[in-house]
Structure formats: structure tokens, C-alpha cells
Symmetry: C2
DNA sequence: TCAGACTATTCTAATAATTGAATATAAAAA
DNA sequence: TTTTTATATTCAATTATTAGAATAGTCTGA
């Protein structure tokens, strides 16, 4: 039985606990976009995106790979991916609860 | 296909993104402790615990039930419970990766 | 009713997070 | 080499979070 390190987990959760970062991470989960692509999809300044990516990189949540003059990102492991799955599943579940007929 | 509301999800994550609150939520997941019990286990001031619980209540993450002169808490739904599972599973996985023999 | 135990709220000071602007760096194209 | 495109970093101002202290409310039992 492994005890949870609440400080460490809280740090991970905090990294995801920002609308822009969460959106960034979700996009990185789907494809492996470069910064420019994120900028266009999110409509947020390049500086801001880069700062959020910097934070995610330093926590080891995402990894950068240079391709020519652009930098592409991918998720480091599947923990974050699973977290996103839980979130979207829980939304789905609540949707169908609202729509049920009894 | 349901699109994720990143602002709403980020709010949920932020609520969990604090060591004390995460610990509180994990304890509430296991048993259904009253404030006094949380205070004793966590070694944190009553005021502080109550503030964290207030935040969790207002976001609908936990629910309070009065029992005599104390108030017991439980999780509202299993989304948070599943999040905790993902976190502890991911820790388990990394533990066994470190311990593997190749 | 009153005292005592348990819980919640409010206020405040300290600290942390967020953002835009400006600037720096790296690769490609001219 | 110079210019352009893409990305990263630094700085400063604003806003948000946190925790302790003080206070208030709620329930039980005498």
C-alpha cells in the first residue's frame, strides 16, 4: 500500500488547475501541437502560452521537442491523460443523468 | 461527444490543489469524519480546516450532515473519488517501475 | 437558563499566481 | 549577412490564495 504524497499531488493538480493550462494539456493529449498552433486555437498571447508551457515543462508534465524552428509538445506520461478522462467521463455521466426519463 | 468546460474543471482541480484540502478529501473518501476528527488527524487548526471545508462545500464537492453537536462530511459524487484513484494508481505504477529488474 | 464542546465566519497580513510588455534566443529564408 | 518566424524569459503591476486570530453560532447536558 502506497501512501499518497499530498504535497506532490497537490502540485500536479495545481498545474492543471488553470483554464488555459488545462486546455493546453487537453490539446497536447490529442495531437502534439507546436506553440504557434496552441496560440491560434486558444487565442491567447504567445508569451502567456509559453509561460504556461514553461511551468508544465518544469513540473515534468509535458516534454518539448524541437522541429526546425518550432517546438512541439507531448505529455510525459499517462497520469494527466487519465485525469482528463475522468473529468470528461464525469461530465458525460452527469449529462446522461440529466437526460434520463424517470 | 461532450466538450469539456475548462473553466469549470479548473475550478474543481483548484479546489483539490492544496495539500491540506487534498488530504481532507482523501480522508472523507475513506470514512465520513467530523471536523474534530480531521483536526486531530491533520494537526491543523480548527479554523483552517473549517475554511477549507467551506470552500469544498460551496463548490459542491463535499456535503455536510449534522450529527448532534458535530458535523460529518461525505463526498458529493464519485468524480473526486476517481481522481484520487488515478493519483494513487499512478504512484503505484511509478513505484513498481522503479523496482523492476531489467 | 448556563457552561462547555464543536463548528463557521470575518478580518488581515503575508505570500503566490497571473498577465502584458519588452526583450532575448534560435532556426529558416532571403 | 540580414530579415523573418517561432519560441522563451524577465520584469512589474495586479489579483488571488492562505493561515492565524478573533468572534459568532449551534448543540448537549446540567
Amino acid at each position: 500500500m502506497v501512501r499518497i504524497d499530498y504535497t506532490h499531488c497537490a502540485q500536479l493538480l495545481k498545474a492543471l488547475a488553470h483554464p488555459t493550462r488545462l486546455n493546453i494539456v487537453a490539446l497536447i493529449k490529442e495531437e502534439q501541437p507546436c506553440v504557434k498552433a496552441l496560440e491560434e486555437v486558444l487565442g491567447v498571447s504567445q508569451s502567456n502560452i509559453s509561460q504556461h508551457l514553461s511551468l508544465l515543462r518544469h513540473l515534468g508534465i509535458v516534454r518539448a521537442r524541437r522541429e526546425g524552428n518550432q517546438v512541439c509538445y507531448r505529455l510525459s506520461d499517462d497520469t494527466v491523460s487519465k485525469m482528463l478522462d475522468v473529468l470528461s467521463n464525469s461530465i458525460n455521466q452527469k449529462e446522461s443523468e440529466n437526460g434520463k426519463s424517470d
